[in-house]
Amino acid sequence: MKLDARDQARLEGKEGPAIALAMRLVTKAADIMGATSLIDVSFAHLDSCFYAGRAHLDFAKFLQSHKARFAVPTWTNNGVVSLEDPSLRPIGEDTEMVEGARALMEVYADLGCKPVFTCAPYQLPGGPKRGDHIVVGESNAVSYYNAVTAARTNKYGAYLDVACALIGKAPFAGLHTEQGRRGDILFTLENVPDSLKQESIFCHLIGHHVGMLAGRQIPVIEGLSPTTNVDGLKAISAAAASSGGVEHWHGIGITPEAPDLATAFGGKAPKAVYKITRADLRAARNALSAGRDGPLDMVQLGTPHFSPSEFANLLTALAGRRVKVPTQVSTSRFVRDFAQTHIAQLEKLGVSIVTDTCTYYSPRARGVSGRIMTNAAKWAWYAPGMLGVEAVFGSLKECAESAVRGDVWRDKELEL
């Protein structure tokens, strides 16, 4: 491992104990990954602000007490609680946990982070650009930044994300290297009708299916609609990251590093080719609907955080009708402010907005259990295990219509 003079001095503690710890973590990670050098990064998005016990807070306070500052622009992921709305806290968790979670978010803001508290940082202006080396922990954001932005990041776990942001460098390995970004396996869509590809639900289903088969390999998808928008790309990124651990993917003719198959695969042949069928998409939908159709207890939207265009689509789908069951949408503070006109109208229809946190926790915060409908593959995949609820998966239109009726409604046009 080659360290320059400054990094060597940091390792020896010449810039204080916090930087020394950060340097130890970065070099340790480099050794384990087999990297022989570090690469400069220009941006970080931290997962370490998500409270996982007192050690998380002690770590942040250790950095704070030694006056550590981030070397690069550093943004924060969701926290466990909302700093904006004290009523949004996980019930059933002890006070220490809730207070600790709040304190942790405050310490990171104090350390110089931009406190955006969002799992969809790519929806905010001023983020990384194509070719930038960055440090990201949140799985959907890792997948989106690599695939859609064509910035370069590995998936950085707790503490290491912070360490890299303090040093401004990361181990030069994996997805930071040209070789590490090539496609492994190919998915084709010739058996899926074009009309279906235009539906937003399609992107969630394809992402889930691809992730299940890809695991941690890099999937390449051929045949996506040229009109697939950023919300669709977000859905694919998030669903594939949660069902399989996908950290990078290519969409031929869609994502920047994949103008054609040869480029996406770096001239090599795919290790496997899968032809996706309607039956695959049906199976994905069934896997995501652990709950049966019937009377609803709640609707949960915004995993990852809702975008301005998704708020507009929800407003259209509700068509001025009030929701009958509690309907929560999680988003970032930024998008909440940006989309305030639409959000004000949605709130009049009974929709509530959650910021700073993710809705795996908020259903418990409001004491809701039972059958919950969502348009997000990621939410539908995780919530039954994490919250013990029955998840029902549907399109945004199906969710909106069901919220109005208080009962799961199915769109005949989306039959698979």
């Binding site: 710890l21 130890r24 973590l25 340790k28 990670a29 384990i32 990954m33 997962d47 370490s48 998500f50 996982a52 016990g53 007192r54 050690a55 998380h56 002690d58 770590f59 250790f62 922990g137 949140e138 799985s139 998936k155 950085y156 776990g157 707790a158 503490y159 290491l160 994300d161 651990g245």
Partner: protein
């Protein structure tokens, strides 16, 4: 026997072999030091003070917090030996060592060594990563 050091330290203790990968976030409760994943074959096992031997870990970006929290509370293992190296546990162990001065070496071993270790009762780990095994007597 030699090992690859992912996090350095010395330790000794009884061996606990997990037959499946464990995630230190979600599948493990640091407060009790207990495996809580209902799907894990060693569910209910307590990790306090053991030399934890497992094929690999299951990935979660929050896992370093799980191991660091267990070491803080004194419910964590004395050492971890993996068949396949893992970054998260080494990072968590390093942070815990710095904050709480709790040693917990993390080692990676090859297949042959792994097979020997899984049939051992008690293990000693030296600072240089050397593993000494007290084998189970024949029955």
């Amino acid at each position: 026997m030699k090992s690859r050091i992912l996090h350095q330290g010395a330790a000794h203790g009884p061996v606990l072999v997990l037959t499946e990968a464990l995630s230190f976030w979600g599948a493990f409760d640091p407060r009790e030091g207990e495996i809580i994943d209902i799907h894990h074959p060693q569910r209910g096992a307590k990790l306090k003070g053991v030399i934890l031997v497992m094929p690999e870990t299951r990935g979660s970006g929050t896992a370093p917090g799980g191991i660091a929290e267990a070491l803080r509370l004194g419910t964590g293992p004395a050492a971890i030996i993996l068949g396949k190296g893992d970054m998260n546990l080494a990072i968590g162990a390093e942070v815990a060592q710095t904050l709480y001065a709790t040693p917990c070496p993390v080692l990676e071993v090859d297949e042959k060594t792994y097979a020997v270790i899984t049939s051992a009762k008690h293990i000693t780990i030296a600072n240089d990563g050397t593993i000494t095994v007290q084998a189970l007597p024949n029955r």
